[in-house]
């Protein structure tokens, strides 16, 4: 039986990708950002997951304004890094897991989650920066990846509760897959940041840390945080944190926090990172 063995949450700031690609991770500015991932890189090298279901948002790369899917699952054999305006990141092509991806797509639709199925797609920093943070700069990614793109750009994005419930449906789908796979779910984006308007640069470390606490304690309360609270308290782009709730919902009612990291700033953004494991 395939099973979900762990969840990872991490910000996916594009400047982090640029710092890795340009060899700046030891610079004074970047060192404290990356130091918080040392533990996780060792941990994942030991864990050796077969597949990561990577929840992220596309930043006007694969999707323009023509089509705006709320939840889209990548079922392709592979996904190339997107050219986001300065050439594609120099990272390996992302290998998919079409058997599991299609199984999840079908299962979720039967479970009343009307997924959009993507057969050809390029993936942007939202997906590749988390991979770089956890795996460094390998010649090939040591894991298959199922991209799960969530609309958090055009309002309304899905509610936190809807994200949580999708996570639960993904868990049911994974557990009904006939194959012995170690699957992780990653929720990416956040934490507080605002990239637009006169209020840009907003950071709310207190709120962010409460959110990090609640991911492993009192997590049911996360489900009812309304969009307006993310917007007011964590900046207009802090809404990305609803994607963490897909991961959290997939882990079941109780989790253990294995690792936690928080740092301000990376560019305009507060970086948050968690490694969680389900408690059986």
């Amino acid at each position: 039986m395939a099973r979900i063995t762990a969840g990872v949450a991490t910000s996916h700031v594009p400047a982090i990708g640029a710092a890795i690609d340009l060899g700046k991770t030891k610079d004074a500015y970047w060192q404290p950002v990356f130091a918080g991932y040392d533990w996780s890189r060792q941990w994942i090298a030991g864990e050796k997951p077969d597949v990561v279901i990577l929840v992220y948002n596309d930043h006007a790369s694969a999707f323009d304004m023509k089509i705006i899917p709320t939840f889209a699952i990548g079922c392709a054999e592979s996904f190339k890094p997107a050219d986001e305006g300065w050439g594609p990141r120099p990272v390996p092509t992302v290998e998919g897991h079409p058997d599991l991806a299609w199984h999840i797509a079908q299962s979720c639709i039967l479970d009343e989650f009307d997924m959009t199925i993507i057969n050809e797609m390029e993936v942007d920093h939202g997906l590749t920066v988390p991979l770089s943070l956890l795996f460094g700069q390998p010649d090939a990614w040591p894991v298959k990846v199922i991209p799960l793109a969530v609309n958090v750009v055009t309002y309304p994005p899905p509610s936190g509760n809807r994200c949580w419930l999708l996570g639960e449906a993904i868990r049911r789908a994974v557990e009904s897959f006939p194959g012995d796979l170690k699957v992780q779910v990653w929720g990416t984006g956040g934490m507080s940041h605002q990239l637009q308007g006169p209020r840009a640069g907003l950071i709310n470390a207190e709120w962010d840390n409460r959110f990090l606490d609640m991911m492993s304690q009192d997590s049911q309360r996360l489900r009812s945080i309304p969009h307006i609270e993310y917007l007011r308290e964590t900046g207009s782009e802090g809404i990305e944190m609803v994607m963490w709730l897909i991961m959290r919902g997939a882990l079941g009612s109780e989790v253990r926090q294995l690792h936690r990291h928080y740092h301000v700033p990376a560019s305009n953004t507060a970086v948050g990172h968690l490694v969680l494991e389900p408690v059986a």
């Binding site: 304004m65 309002y155 840009a200």
Partner: protein, 135 residues
């Protein structure tokens, strides 16, 4: 979960100081700003845009206000006219600006002051949560 009223859901967004939430109303108004910006993902389009910005804009269904704001790189105005920051990023990336550099231009601060604010922990949410509440 109780059902949210869409009108009060949307109205609350206008109560956040210094913020333009990318609602459907903005998305409809700014459709061609964002689609124009998206076209700069392709190297050949970037080259044409750099060679003659005004001529390149003629190829898109933009009004004069929108064209002027694009040419002036007036990002706050572009947000008002329906631009979305991730699409507008294609314009400032083509100009060679980072997110931090471009974002600072919307705050009325110099890049240096903005960067210093971020290094010191960012902008506090105190006083900028709600116009009505003043908190």
């Amino acid at each position: 979960m109780s059902h949210l009223d869409i009108h009060s859901y949307l109205a609350a967004f206008d109560d956040i100081p210094g913020t333009r939430v990318y609602t459907v109303a903005r998305a409809r108004k700014g459709y061609w700003i964002n689609q124009f910006a998206m076209s700069l993902m392709k190297p050949e389009n970037r080259a044409r845009w750099k060679a003659d910005e005004t001529a390149y804009l003629e190829g898109w269904n933009l009004d004069d206000d929108q064209k002027a704001a694009i040419l002036a790189r007036d990002y706050n105005r572009l947000l008002d006219l329906g631009g979305n920051i991730y699409f507008l990023a294609k314009i400032f990336s083509t100009d060679g600006l980072s997110f931090l550099q471009a974002v600072s231009t919307m705050t009325g601060m110099s890049v240096e002051d903005y960067q210093a604010m971020m290094l010191a922990g960012g902008r506090s949410p105190n006083g900028v949560r709600s116009i009505k509440e003043g908190n």
